[in-house]
């Protein structure tokens, strides 16, 4: 069966510090991978998606970047965090076919102080 792992669950970081959130998927190959951010009143904002290794599409200009070094690994990074980067970050995957179901990780609650 397929599973998705996302860590850490919670993170408190000072302004200006770097960030690295990791997401890995098991039990499937060549998934589409997504990073979303959930902030109060803004729903699920798509940040990045990837259809393959090294292929990253950015949806929102921002202080963050994403990388996909392996087929089932998706990393969200920042060199210098801003207060506005606080939020609930969710990784997700789907198979990329029609009528696909996306599976979400448990999320990372990031607080920038």
């Amino acid at each position: 069966s397929q599973t998705i792992h996302q860590w850490p669950a919670t993170l408190v970081q000072p302004v200006g510090s770097p960030l690295s959130l990791e997401c890995t998927v098991e039990g499937t190959s060549n998934p589409n991978l997504y990073w979303y951010r959930q902030a109060a009143g803004r729903g699920l904002q798509l940040l990045f998606y990837s259809v393959g290794i090294g292929q990253i599409s950015s949806e929102v200009p921002q202080n963050l970047s994403a990388s996909r070094p392996q087929d089932r690994q998706f990393i969200l990074s920042s060199k210098k965090l801003l207060l506005s980067d606080s939020g609930f970050y969710l990784c997700a995957w789907d198979t990329g076919g029609r009528l696909t179901e996306a599976f979400f990780g448990q999320g990372t609650r990031l607080t920038v102080v």
Binding site: N32, L44, Y49, S57, L90, A92, G97, T100, Q106
Partner: protein
Amino acid sequence: QQQVKQSPQSLIVQKGGISIINCAYENTAFDYFPWYQQFPGKGPALLIAIRPDVSEKKEGRFTISFNKSAKQFSLHIMDSQPGDSATYFCGSLFGNEKLTFGTGTRLTIIP
């Protein structure tokens, strides 16, 4: 810019009543419209989904109504229960590779 516009932002419904959440879209290239349910502190999970070639899909107490000409779709929860209290997101899929969501509706079912 949201790909789909969702309303209301919050909704309170009495137990046993009907909960209705609406979404509207602009891009006619979208061909898959899912609804996700999210409980506090958890990731969203797929609830029900529809393709634009049908006008309605029902699964248990949950029904999606789809109006292609109006570019609108809605989620109806019949006989709403306290366990249905959650945040609901409508979504759209473009080109099999970009799943985007509305702003969410926080549903509260009161006794």
